[in-house]
């Protein structure tokens, strides 16, 4: 006989997520993921200036900030056939890398670490042994016995005060915590260090985009004019600042994040066979090195993998009606021709229809509709998107840079490549792609410097900025790889205004409810067979859910009720 447990709110994520799970014999037998907040931004975008859309959709998410704005300017540029200058592409790429470095570190330490690191147990650590251990895994300078002893003293007094703040009611002492006290202390020390560090790397966004969170973007390029002889523009001081921040960021990734990730992972190898889930992976690709339109020269290659078979990578074509479709069989929506068939985003329609219980309630009726998320499918397949998908596709495409970081990690942990298909693999993949983006950020920076040195200071292509130059109707799509996975926006411009704007978002792929055939999406599938030692403490559920890094505000949206057809769309895949 199984027992239904509810975890709501799931904390240490962006937004509002609820999980209901049936436990039988200490394992999850069935699971349901529900998004419980909606804002209907697409409805609000109708009739507005397409050049302003980036600011609206940027506000979809302040955690993966910048990424929706980037996707939005790309989709408008696609519709208006604007090719941005190389420098603007480089600046966008540098901001993209900055976002990964920031977002992934904050995820690891502040959203995910407490699933693995027992804060209270860190008080039992020997600072001298902790120091020796820290120095054996990294050359990071803050590693003396005194440093760890100070932190331990500080946390001890904090705990003694009785007011535990954000650490209150945590699952401390849970049998699933396996780290030695010394590793817990390193994790705790770096939780605090990373909290101070994270505010630095985002200064790259402030320099190019004016602020972070929510830096500014511009249709046609970027607004940050290069002017090496003026104090107001991007000059030598601004560029040197960016260079320093990227260098410091890379150092933190290599000397703190990755050594910690590997140290923690080495004590949780059993999680390399838990939480695998679907085994299908989807990537749109990003970081163009020869212009956004040349998909064959992306740092993150596009593609799809099915059934964990890395010997075959499928190309993805977003314009084909049978490829991407969205279902609402178990969502709080109503399709005109019934909720049992899927619709391509071109023909997407939505009418919201809440059929859940009247709040306050204890349980959702998961046999019916149970989420504000729709359910996207690729050729009918449920797909996982995100860091693991990107790393697998890069690896499967035979890219040397991916192979190098993946093979090293597998060797260091002494696990086979199949270990990647798991909760631990997902968490590790996030770290591995951060190593790459930190390196690539500096590559893009060097190219920007070279361009400027060679006299190219163009930052925006403004010849089609005036709406008077636009065709009466225009259709476009923009795609990216958000930190949480494949992301695309579609726009339909009519009479200089937005007639339709649609988003298909990473967490919608991962966190959605079941489809018309009853197939689970990534979260639900990954939770199956996860052990739960204590039904009243959902620690193991948090591990797997957090390994996806949920972003719920992104995932909930509404299509144009009229479902305008879009006839032109970028081809993804090479």
């Amino acid at each position: 006989m199984s027992k239904r447990i509810v975890v709501d709110p799931i904390t240490r994520i962006e937004g509002h997520l609820r999980v209901e799970a049936d436990i039988e014999n200490g394992k999850i037998k069935d699971a349901y993921s529900s998004g419980t907040m909606i804002r209907l931004l697409e409805e609000i975008l109708k009739g507005r200036d397409p050049r302003d859309a980036w600011a609206f959709v940027g506000r979809v998410c302040g955690v993966c900030t910048s990424i929706h704005s980037l996707t939005s300017v790309r989709c408008v540029e696609d519709a208006l056939d604007i090719v941005i200058p190389p420098n603007a592409e480089l600046v966008r790429n540098i901001m993209f890398c900055t976002q990964y470095i920031h977002d992934h570190v904050v995820h690891f330490y502040h959203l995910h670490a407490m699933d693995w690191v027992d804060v209270v147990n860190a008080l039992k650590a020997d600072p001298k042994k902790t120091s020796e251990l820290a120095q054996s895994i990294s050359k990071w300078p803050k590693s003396s016995p005194g440093y760890f002893s100070d932190i331990q003293t500080r946390i001890k007094k904090f705990v003694e005060s009785g007011q535990l703040g954000i650490f209150a009611n945590g699952y401390w002492g849970h049998p699933a915590y396996k780290l030695p006290a010394e590793v817990n202390l390193i994790g705790l020390a770096h939780y605090l260090e990373a909290l101070e560090w994270q505010k630095e790397i985002v200064k790259v966004h402030a320099i190019f985009g004016g602020k972070n969170p929510h830096p500014n973007y511009l249709v046609g390029g970027m607004a940050c004019a290069i002017s090496i002889d003026d104090v107001s523009g991007i000059n030598a001081e601004r560029l040197a600042y960016v260079g320093q921040l990227l260098k410091d960021g890379k150092e933190f990734i290599e000397q703190v994040y990755i050594p910690d990730l590997m140290a923690v992972a080495s004590f949780y190898k059993e999680w390399a066979s838990i939480g695998g889930g679907l085994g299908n992976y989807l990537v749109y690709g990003d970081l163009p090195t020869n212009g956004y339109r040349d998909l064959s020269h992306y740092k993150f290659p596009a593609g799809a993998i099915l059934n964990k078979d890395v010997s075959k990578v499928y190309d993805v074509d977003l314009k084909k009606e049978e490829e991407v479709q969205e279902f609402v069989t178990h969502s709080w929506y109503e399709y005109k021709e019934g909720n049992d068939k899927g619709l391509h985003p071109w023909k997407g329609e939505s009418k919201i229809k809440y059929t859940g219980p009247k709040p306050p309630f204890d349980h959702l009726d998961t046999s019916k509709e149970y989420s504000y998320l729709k359910t996207p499918r690729w050729k009918g397949n449920a797909m996982e998107v995100g860091p693991l998908a990107r790393v697998l596709v890069g690896y499967a495409r035979g890219r040397e840079d991916f192979k190098a970081v993946v093979d090293k990690a597998l060797k260091d942990l002494n696990v086979p490549i199949t270990a990647l298909f798991s909760t631990l693999g997902r968490t590790a993949a996030r770290g591995l792609e951060t190593i790459l983006t930190a390196q690539w950020g500096l590559e893009f920076y060097d190219q920007l410097m070279t361009n400027i040195k060679n006299g190219d200071t163009r930052m925006a292509e403004m010849s089609k900025f005036d709406p008077a130059t636009w065709p009466k109707t225009a259709l476009g799509v923009g795609h990216t790889e958000a930190p949480r996975g494949a992301l695309a926006h579609w726009i339909n411009i009519e009479d200089q205004k937005i007639a339709n704007y649609q988003l298909v978002v990473p967490t919608t792929w991962n966190a959605s409810p079941r489809d018309n055939k009853g197939q689970m999406s990534a979260y639900e599938a990954a939770l199956i067979d996860t052990p739960v030692a204590n039904e009243t403490q959902p620690l193991e559920i948090l591990r797997t859910i957090h390994s996806f890094d949920p972003c719920m505000a992104c995932s909930v949206h509404l299509y144009d009720e009229d479902g305008k057809t879009i006839s032109r769309i970028s081809v993804i895949g090479d």
Binding site: R39, L41, I44, R154, I207, G210, A223, D230, V231
Partner: protein, 376 residues
């Protein structure tokens, strides 16, 4: 407002800081920095220091409704190390879905504990708006609607801080047609002070400054008539803009990346909303003083102003230019400038080709009036 006697046993900020190994000098450095942030005279440094040394810690509940979490992200960007430490460790942040270790039942218990134990004493921070359409089902946490949760938490709060534009004015989800009926906090609670800290998001140090003001003095900061702390929202971005001399001289960027953009001219003609936006961006800047939108070459989009999403196209502003300066009271100008000028132009046929010289003169006068008002 705060019952000191009941919480006297809690350690003071200074004790906490000392315990963490910071020196008296570090502490005073922090005090003088935060005093400056609060817009106080240097003579107030002693007062702030004394307050931090003697006032007890205060529990904080931070709720998340219809939002994107940019406010929480901005808050953790707060620059001074001691500020980050104090706000994350010293205020006893007992509930925040973004950072707290506990989930589900344990998270709800933490919320309930603080609401019961510190009734009448905790600060309630709200990030996000509350959807009222469809009986509130567009935002539910733990099976309850956001309005139910807000009402329960507001009851025992000593004061409420409405973080960001979502909680202060509804922000993007309340833009027309506001399909979920997203509603800001001050319209939903009564009998409690509500401090609005608008911006999308607010500057991290402004958020820290508002909290520290409350902690230091045991009372909420002085608010303007819209409910915003005067310290951070009494000047227009335009008044403190380093590009203001170009505006006064009539030198403008005509299109992005043009020669004038490279020279750092004024961004008014490409849509800058600095003249109608009350915020501290020009003075404090963003991300520890690194830059701010205008410095990076992009116009201010006015993200701290009410209804900024419905104030016309972002990159078109020149048509409203001539009407500027017709309103003598600078405080009301910022609020009504866009609407008023549009009406003035359309309805009253104010000269659309008014001379640049006159306009600049008007603006200079207006600036002086604004300055005068601030000095009163």
């Amino acid at each position: 407002m705060i019952n000191d006697a009941s919480v006297l046993k809690q350690p003071t900020y200074y004790e906490e800081v000392e315990r963490k190994g910071y020196s008296r000098r570090d502490f005073m450095k922090f005090v003088s920095m935060i005093t400056a942030f609060m817009g106080l005279e240097k003579s107030a440094i002693g007062q702030v220091a004394k307050a931090l040394e003697t006032k007890p810690r205060i529990p904080v509940i931070w709720l998340h409704f219809q939002e994107c979490t940019c406010c929480s992200e901005s808050f953790i960007r707060s620059s001074h190390p001691i500020v980050a430490d104090i706000l994350l460790d010293k205020i006893s942040l007992d509930y925040t879905e973004t950072l707290m270790a506990a989930s589900g039942t344990q998270a709800e218990e933490a919320l309930k504990n603080t609401m019961t134990k510190y009734k009448g004493q905790y600060i309630l921070c709200v990030e996000g708006s509350v959807p009222l359409a469809a009986d509130g089902v567009y935002c539910m946490i733990g099976g309850k609607t956001s309005i139910q949760i807000l009402e329960e938490a507001a009851e025992g709060a000593a004061a409420i801080i409405a973080w960001g534009s979502c909680a202060s004015n509804g922000c993007v989800q309340s833009a027309k047609p506001n399909p979920t009926k997203a509603t800001p906090i001050h319209k939903l609670v009564s009998g409690k002070p509500v401090i609005k800290v608008p911006g999308c998001p607010p500057i991290g140090e402004v958020m820290a400054g508002v909290i520290v003001h409350y902690l230091a003095f045991g009372k909420i900061p002085e608010l303007d008539r819209l409910g915003r702390p005067k310290a951070f929202y009494s000047k227009r971005v335009h008044d403190s803009c380093y590009r203001r001399p170009f505006y006064d001289a009539g030198l403008f960027v005509e299109t992005f990346d043009d020669e004038n953009a490279k020279k750092g001219y004024c961004l008014y003609k490409v849509g800058c909303k600095g003249p109608s936006t009350y915020n501290a961006c020009g003075v404090m800047k963003w991300n520890n003083g690194t830059s701010y939108p205008i410095q990076s070459g992009h116009p201010c989009i006015g993200c701290s102003e009410e209804n900024y999403w419905d104030n016309g196209r972002m990159y078109e502003r020149a048509s409203a230019f001539p009407g500027f300066g017709i309103e003598a009271n600078a405080d009301t100008l910022g609020k009504i400038a866009l609407g008023a000028t549009a009406v003035a132009i359309a309805g009253h046929a104010i000269a659309t080709n008014i001379g640049k010289h006159t306009t600049i003169h008007n603006l200079e006068e207006e600036g002086k009036e604004s300055e005068h008002e601030l000095n009163v």
